[in-house]
């Protein structure tokens, strides 16, 4: 009887139709932004220079050319060493910030975040000034040189530290004080408490931090470009194959090789995160560290040392950017900031960066937030929603250089009707949004999951169109997260080098790319100056964000107060 009754097929309301159209449109946009460029790259790896299918010939030649294959080994080697150095330092630093009583805690936290606002070129350049052929402390190396493996490692440690630290601070901050009280009452030793309570609680954070550092080092291009010397890595190989030798097919192959470890690390991270359960229940008592002289002094010293290292590298970059003629004339000058003298674009590249970053922030925030909302709230339509989720996750696993290369192949193809976008500012914005899409999507999804799932049901029962509830309730509630995403996109658009280096035209050159070009031409001081301008700009935007968060948002969001 029940089997013969017809199944209920619910008619779609106007809201449903509108949202499904939105999800479908989003799927198309993401396919164009992410899916098809990567597909073009994949295809290109199986073609010769003239576009004929050659099967695995390119891969065979890659793996049988020791010069190329060695880069892959070098990349893995550097990434592994950096991970082993960064994660313990970041763990101790994060532990100090969350579990010890530090004087000027906010300052220590702020200093450790600075590298995020710098292009990865900056630590490389600063190291040249410190230990390069004419470096201040060259004698310390005792005949060795900074160009190569050691230089890359030191610069990467600077560059990756904040990423690992932020993850570990989050992991260590969510501790239940009652677990420690229970361990205390049961008479566990400090060491035992660390291994049975602290470490298990932060386990997933440690794994995640390690994978993030590994991926960052493998995929980063700026550091190796500046200070790698003859030590070749995958990222510089892609650049050399494509820009230097115009060998796009081999570039594509190296790109695919570069994609493999990044994608693997990403997959492992997702797998591990899935196993994680909420350790901090709503009833947990947050852990507030108490004063303990010995421990606090140790951690204050440790943090001072690390912060000093970060400031030394940053300070060196700032100072050297003002110096007339290193190392012979150390008097100060603004000359290095007159970029017209070093690059045809002059300060225009900086203006371009601002326009691009603002564009990416606005377009990217609107797209990720609306996209996340559509993906979460559309009824039915599961297949398309899953496709959108997959495409939103993909960019996280794809190195910028690989995505940029894919863009060349896809958008520069004469047959592509979107060809007109090539070499415009628009493609830089699109590419940057695509490159950093995942974090925006995840942040928006998390924010949406935190609000009551029944808002849509209520507005349907009140016959209010769903988009109205989106504009009047959902988006205003998520405003802090929306701002977070916008600032994240802005800062990354300012500092990124990898993806956009293949896509700029003479008119749309960005500051970070100009810095690479200037450095390539041998004018280290001006390149450093340009990096300093980028750091100052992105840090200023972040500072504005914090101020806005504190004062403007507090005022606009009076409803949060009890």
């Amino acid at each position: 009887m029940s089997l013969s009754t017809p199944l209920t097929r619910v008619r779609a309301s106007r809201d449903d139709l509108l949202m499904r159209a939105g999800v479908a449109l989003l799927a198309v946009v993401l396919l164009l932004m992410v899916g098809l460029p990567l597909w073009s790259l994949l295809v290109k790896g199986f073609q010769d220079r003239d576009g004929n299918f050659v099967g695995l010939a390119n891969y065979v030649s890659y793996f049988s050319t020791p010069a190329l294959f060695n880069s892959a080994l070098n990349s893995l080697h550097v990434a592994a060493v950096c991970t082993l150095i960064v994660v313990p330092i970041a763990f101790l630093y994060a532990y100090a910030l969350t579990r010890a009583v530090l004087p000027l805690r906010w300052l220590f936290q702020g200093v450790a975040l600075i590298p995020i606002f710098a292009p990865s070129l900056l630590p490389g350049l600063a190291l040249i000034y410190l230990f390069g052929t004419q470096g201040f402390f060259k004698s310390w190396l005792g005949g060795g040189q900074i160009y190569g493996f050691e230089g890359i490692v030191i610069a990467q440690v600077f560059y990756c530290l904040p990423h690992a630290m932020m993850i570990l601070v989050t992991a260590l901050a969510t501790a239940d004080a009652r677990l420690y009280e229970a361990a205390d009452v049961l008479g566990a030793s400090k060491l035992r408490v660390f291994f049975t309570v602290t470490l298990p609680g932060a386990k997933y954070g440690v794994i995640s931090a390690a994978l993030v550092v590994f991926t960052l080092v493998i995929t980063d291009f700026g550091v190796a470009k500046v200070i790698g010397g003859n030590f070749n890595v995958l990222a510089t190989d892609v650049y050399k194959q494509v820009i230097g030798q115009q060998n796009f097919s081999m570039g594509a192959v190296v790109g695919m090789v570069l994609l493999a470890p990044a994608a693997l690390a990403f997959a492992v991270d997702r797998f591990v995160q899935r196993k994680q359960v909420a350790l901090l229940t709503a009833r947990a008592v947050p852990l507030v560290p108490r004063r303990k002289a010995g421990r606090d002094i140790f951690y204050t010293l440790f943090c001072t040392l690390v912060a000093a290292g970060i400031l030394a590298i940053l300070g060196m970059a700032v100072w050297s950017s003002f110096i007339k003629y290193w190392p012979y004339n150390l008097s100060l000058t603004w000359a290095n900031y007159k970029f017209e003298a070093f690059d045809a674009n002059g300060w225009d590249s900086y203006t371009n960066s601002l326009v691009m970053a603002a564009g990416a922030a606005i377009v990217g925030t609107a797209l990720t937030f609306t996209g996340a909302w559509l993906t979460e709230k559309t009824r039915g339509f599961h297949l398309v929603r899953d496709l959108v989720r997959l495409l939103a996750f993909l960019p996280m696993a794809v190195p910028g250089l690989v995505l940029g290369l894919g863009y060349i192949f896809f958008f520069n193809a004469p047959a592509n009707p979107l060809n007109f976008l090539y070499a415009t500012m628009a493609i830089l914005v699109i590419n940057t949004v695509a490159h950093f899409y995942t974090v925006g999507h995840l942040t928006a999804t998390t924010a949406l999951k935190q609000i009551d799932p029944e808002f849509e049901a209520v507005s349907a029962s009140l016959k209010v169109p769903i988009w109205r509830t989106f504009a009047r309730v959902t988006a205003p509630i998520c405003l802090p997260s929306i701002l977070d995403v916008a600032v994240y996109l802005f800062v990354n658009a300012m500092t990124t080098v990898s993806s956009v280096i293949f896509l700029y035209s003479p008119d749309t050159k960005l500051a970070s790319v100009a810095a690479v070009n200037i450095e390539e031409a041998g004018t280290t001081a001006a390149a450093t100056a340009l990096c300093v301008v980028i750091v100052v700009t992105s840090a200023a935007v972040k500072a504005l964000h914090l101020l806005a968060d504190r004062f403007v948002l507090g005022h606009l969001q009076a409803w949060r107060r009890r």
């Binding site: 619910v10 049901a457 016959k463 209010v464 009047r472 309730v473 409803w559 107060r561 009890r562």
Partner: protein, 378 residues
């Protein structure tokens, strides 16, 4: 409280009339027919049919996972059924999206819009109906006064207590004068004291407005005090539909007997049309239809129906029991009693305790009145 519902002469609890008599009675406001809901292999609702009359207050009662919320959400169209039909006021709404159905809904989480003032929350559904501003303000004021929060308009939800927030949610749901009010565990997130007060207020409001109301709850006391009719559900099926008195006094299944109120269960064998043996003892009960002699049964009696005082000679089902644990519950004591292999609990008033000097270890004579015994197949 419970007595009030006896006055409700609901045609739907009566046997269905013959075809020719349809015109004489009201059609049900909501007709649910053969509703199924499956999630993969799991059957959340299996062939549910139910009629709800206009102006009725119906409670879906059952343990968590019994399908009561699933049924409510199917009626709202939020999570549509797999198959089956739902007619509201004669109109087939089975395949309509929620926005095209006529209902107001209140959730356990209140789901108030935190960034809008209380007045904007209540007026949320009115604004989109293009009513005049002054008209909306008047209606909002009226609704807030109705739920007892005349001055809360300019406040934000976070500034109100849980009980106040739930009243605002109720006002918002009623603002557009829906024909059907759906309440999904509206009181579960509140303190016991607030919960008691809101029970009365919601019931009084519903009676004044006469709006057909369905409330989902797992709290049997809530259902007994508020509902005109209770739909007891278990494992995706309806166990019993009836007034609070029926459900409490005459549970139709062992599950209902156990779930609603406290109940003693004695495992026994059906030996004659009006006799059940439990171990060595034999009890008289009302004549039962449809039970084969020799079949395994469960004999039930409520703790308050165990008789102790003034037992006349020759009273049936007399037992001599020893008093075990005594749990003091305030107005009465719940006593554990034992006679050979029979274990019972009984509620004794404080007076009775004093008068008979009931104490742990003492022996007592009790009787289980045959008209209060119910028999279910085991």
């Amino acid at each position: 409280m419970r007595g009030a519902s006896e006055d409700v002469r609901n045609p739907l609890t009566q046997p269905l009339p013959l075809a020719g008599e349809w015109g004489k009675i009201r059609l049900p406001y909501l007709e649910v027919r053969n509703l199924h809901k499956r999630f993969g292999d799991f059957t959340a609702l299996g062939d549910i049919s139910l009629d709800i009359g206009e102006g009725e207050f119906v409670c879906f009662l059952g343990p968590s996972g019994c399908g009561k919320t699933t049924l409510l959400r199917a009626i709202a169209g939020l999570d549509p059924q797999t198959s089956g039909t739902i007619r509201q006021k004669g109109r087939d709404v089975s395949a309509l999206p929620p926005a095209q159905r006529d209902f107001g809904i209140v959730f356990q989480s209140y789901a108030l819009f935190p960034n809008l003032s209380v007045a904007d929350n209540v007026g949320y559904g009115l604004v989109s109906r293009r009513q005049k501003r002054a008209e909306i303000a008047r209606r909002v004021g009226e609704l807030l006064a109705m739920v007892g929060l005349p001055d809360a308009g300019p406040k934000y939800p976070a500034q109100l207590s849980g009980g106040q927030q739930q009243r605002v949610a109720l006002a918002r749901a009623l603002a557009t004068s829906p024909g059907l009010l759906l309440l999904d565990e509206p009181l579960s997130a509140l303190d016991a004291r607030v919960r008691l007060r809101l029970r009365h207020e919601i019931k009084a409001l519903q009676r004044t407005l006469g709006v057909t109301t369905i409330m989902v709850t797992h709290d049997q006391e809530e259902a007994l005090t508020m509902a005109d009719r209770i739909v007891v559900m278990n494992q995706g099926a309806i166990e019993q539909v009836g007034g609070p008195q029926d459900v409490y006094r005459a549970p139709s299944t062992a599950f209902v007997a156990d779930f609603v109120g406290a109940m003693n269960f004695l495992d026994g064998t059906f030996t004659a049309p009006d006799r059940v043996s439990v171990g060595a003892a034999s009890f008289a009960c009302l004549p039962q239809d449809g039970l084969a002699t020799g079949s395994k049964v469960r004999l039930c009696i409520r703790p308050e129906d165990v008789r102790v005082r003034d037992l006349p000679a020759g009273i049936p089902n007399r037992l001599t029991v020893t008093v075990g644990e005594l749990d003091f519950v305030g107005a009465f004591c719940r006593a554990s009693l034992r006679a050979a292999e029979i274990a019972l609990v009984a509620d004794f008033s404080s007076n009775l305790m004093r008068d008979l000097g009931v104490a742990r270890g003492k022996t007592l004579d009790v009787a289980l009145p045959p008209d209060r015994l119910r028999v279910f197949t085991a």
